[in-house]
Structure formats: structure tokens, C-alpha cells
């Protein structure tokens, strides 16, 4: 890809999704564009970029989707889910005991594995039977991924990465070589196409936000913007979970790390009883 085309592509991507495309990934970008070249009937990538310069909206959307990273797995970074189950959730159950209402958001859900992992954990906690109302919202910029997530159908390969076999048998039904997550868990999650650069007001107030392994694809300015958006919708005593290798240092004053669990952040506030106990 010639440099001018690469720069134009990177700018389209940054403007539409906030994703940063470094120049050393030019070859990767070309590979990811090949299915779009075929789908839209172009001769090659330069022909696709030439059309993109004419402001072809459907093409720009397809290009953006093709460039997003959708790799995910059930219970990815298992420790994060253990921290959610053992630290975040018990405290929230105490804090919300009066309303018995919890609202959680997976901000970049890819094909739904993270959201369904949470649904499995929440289902195991049997909160509905105790009168709790749980709202699990999951979004992604990629419409194809959101469609896949809604289907809840995964290949044999996908269900073997991160998912213990007992959870597979308990929560999925086999359909040929694929496995579909059971309806009760599918019904727990509302999926929606959403660009993290847009206003999150539609989300209302949230108790927990999962925004893992997403910020690392953005530049500093976009990271700050996304964190501001999350701070706007997260309740003052809510929690934010990012990837264990992602640090928010120097990006925000809206969140403080919980030093005993990498990737877990709270709004600045005095520690609550359960957390104080966990810190000892």
C-alpha cells in the first residue's frame, strides 16, 4: 500500500472509531481489507481506497469493521472474573441491597464471550431467585460481531478457550460442530451496536463497566475521551474493569486503581468495608 493511501486509511479509521493504525501494520491492514475488496467487487486495495476517498459510507463502515480486533475468549484473563465475583460483586450486593438492582455494561463485547461469561457468573450466583434485577448491556462497534453475539453460537474451537468443560455442558447445547449458549443466558444480555466515541447517555446509570483490552488501540486523547464518557455513566460507587496489563495512570483522575487487583478501578472514594477486608 502506498504511503498516501495508508495515511488516508489510518485517518478514516481514527476519525470513525478512534483506532490507531501504526504504519508497521500496513501489511496487516491490507490483509484485513481483502475480504472487503472481494465483497464490494474492487480490483485491489488501491481501488478500494480510491472509492473510499469519495466518501462511500457503506464502504467506510465495512472498512472500519474489517480493521477492528475481535479476538476474544470466554473468561479471558480468568483472574479478572474471579475478582469481579469475589470483590466487586459482594460489595455491590451489599450496596444495592435496598434496590436489588444491578446494571452492567461490556463496552466492547466482540462476539459476546465476555458478556456471556458474566451472565454465567451472575446466573451461578442465583440472584434472580433472590429477587435481584440484573441488566447486562453489551455493545460493540462492529455490527457483524453484535449479530454473532446475539446468535450466541460458537465453534468448537471458541468454546474450548477459557471455558471449563462443566460450564460448557451446563450452559450450551450442541448444534452439529457448534455450541449455542442457552436461551436463559442469551436473554440476560442486551446487545447493541455502539461506537465508544459517541455519547453513552442511552446507557443510563451503571454499576460496573467492563472495558477490557480496548483502550490500548486508541491514542491518548481518545483514551481520555472514552474514560470521561465511562465516568459520566458509572455511579460514584461503581467499578471499572480494564485489561490487567492496561494502566490508566496519567490518563484520568476519575478513577483510582485497586492495588490488589490489576485492571480493577474505582471512582475516587474511601474504601468500603468489604474492600478494606480484602486489602488486609
Amino acid at each position: 500500500m502506498i504511503l498516501a493511501d495508508f495515511k488516508f486509511l489510518a485517518e478514516v479509521l481514527r476519525r470513525r472509531s478512534g483506532l490507531v493504525l501504526p504504519q508497521h501494520k500496513s501489511h496487516l491492514a491490507e490483509n484485513r481489507l481483502l475480504p472487503v475488496v472481494r465483497r464490494f467487487g474492487f480490483k485491489d486495495v488501491p481501488a478500494l481506497i480510491a472509492e473510499l476517498r469519495h466518501g462511500h459510507e457503506a464502504l467506510a463502515e465495512a472498512v472500519t469493521e474489517a480493521m477492528t480486533t475481535n479476538d476474544s475468549a470466554f473468561f479471558r484473563d480468568r483472574k479478572t472474573f474471579e475478582e469481579f465475583r469475589d470483590i466487586v460483586l459482594p460489595e455491590l450486593l451489599m450496596l444495592r441491597a435496598a434496590t436489588k438492582r444491578l446494571r452492567l455494561w461490556c463496552a466492547a463485547c466482540a462476539a459476546g464471550q465476555e458478556a456471556y461469561s458474566l451472565a454465567m457468573l451472575l446466573d451461578e450466583a442465583k440472584l434472580a431467585a433472590q429477587g435481584w434485577s440484573i441488566e447486562l448491556i453489551a455493545s460493540d462497534i462492529n455490527s457483524q460481531m453484535v449479530g454473532r453475539a446475539q446468535e450466541g453460537l460458537y465453534s468448537q474451537f471458541e468454546v474450548q478457550r477459557g471455558l471449563p468443560i462443566r460450564k460448557l455442558v451446563a450452559n450450551f447445547t450442541q448444534e452439529g460442530t457448534h455450541w449455542r449458549i442457552r436461551k436463559e443466558l442469551r436473554d440476560m444480555v442486551s446487545f447493541r451496536i455502539f461506537n465508544l466515541l459517541d455519547s453513552p447517555h442511552w446507557l443510563g446509570e451503571l454499576d460496573v463497566v467492563f472495558c477490557r483490552n480496548v483502550l490500548m488501540y486508541f491514542d491518548q486523547k481518545t483514551r481520555r475521551q472514552v474514560l470521561k464518557s465511562i465516568a459520566r455513566v458509572l455511579k460514584p460507587d461503581g467499578s471499572l474493569l480494564v485489561g490487567p496489563m492496561e494502566s490508566l495512570a496519567s490518563l484520568t483522575e476519575d478513577f483510582v486503581p485497586f492495588e490488589h487487583a490489576p485492571g480493577l478501578y474505582f471512582r475516587p472514594r474511601p474504601p468500603l468495608p468489604l474492600l478494606r477486608r480484602a486489602m488486609r
Binding site: R78, F157, Q160, P164, V169, T177
Partner: protein, 122 residues
Amino acid sequence: MKHCLVVDNSRVLRKVTCRILEDLAFATEEAEDGAAALSQCRRRMPDVILLDWHMPNMSGIEFLRALRGEAQGRQPVVLFCTTENDVAHITEALGAGADEYIMKPFDRSIIESKLSEVGLLS
């Protein structure tokens, strides 16, 4: 170093699996059927066993029942690793004492994920 016994009647699959495990810092040993695996276990019990289902002499499930029936000594972690990918087989394996279940074909990421699941990889 953890010690893994790979039980499969396919020599190629044993080699491929052992290569992955050695990359993950496991010491490996091979057995071509359940009977050979059982006598190897009686000599030296491994930490973990990757176990095929269909094999001559003694099948994987027969081996597992015999192994779990042995009263003495510590019991290894057992991961079935088989083309039998239906719920009935999985349930039978878990009922017989399997700790995890790998459906073939597999790759390194699946082996890693399953070993981590049973606490043998961090």
C-alpha cells in the same frame, strides 16, 4: 518440572502433543494404549495425563476407571483428548473422574487454556 503422560494410539498425535507440552515446560512420556498407560502409572505416577478415548487393548474410559479405582497414592489430573465431542461422552468422562475435556482437533492455545483451567499453568 511437571510430568505429563500422553496416551494416544496415534504416534503422530503423541509427538505433536508432546512438542506442545515440552514448549510449555512439561516433561513428557508416551503410551500407545490404556494398558501401557496403566503400567506406566504404576511405575511412576505423572502429574497430568492427556487421554485419547478409542485405543486398542484398553480404551481411555476403561483406563480412567481403573486409574481412579487404584486405592493407593496420589491421583493425577486427567484431561480427555478425543474426537468424541458430544455431551454423552463428555458426561461419561466427567462421571468417570476426568478433570477436563479437550475435543480434537486442538491447538496449543486450547492445551494451554485447559492446563490453566486445572491449575497446572498460570
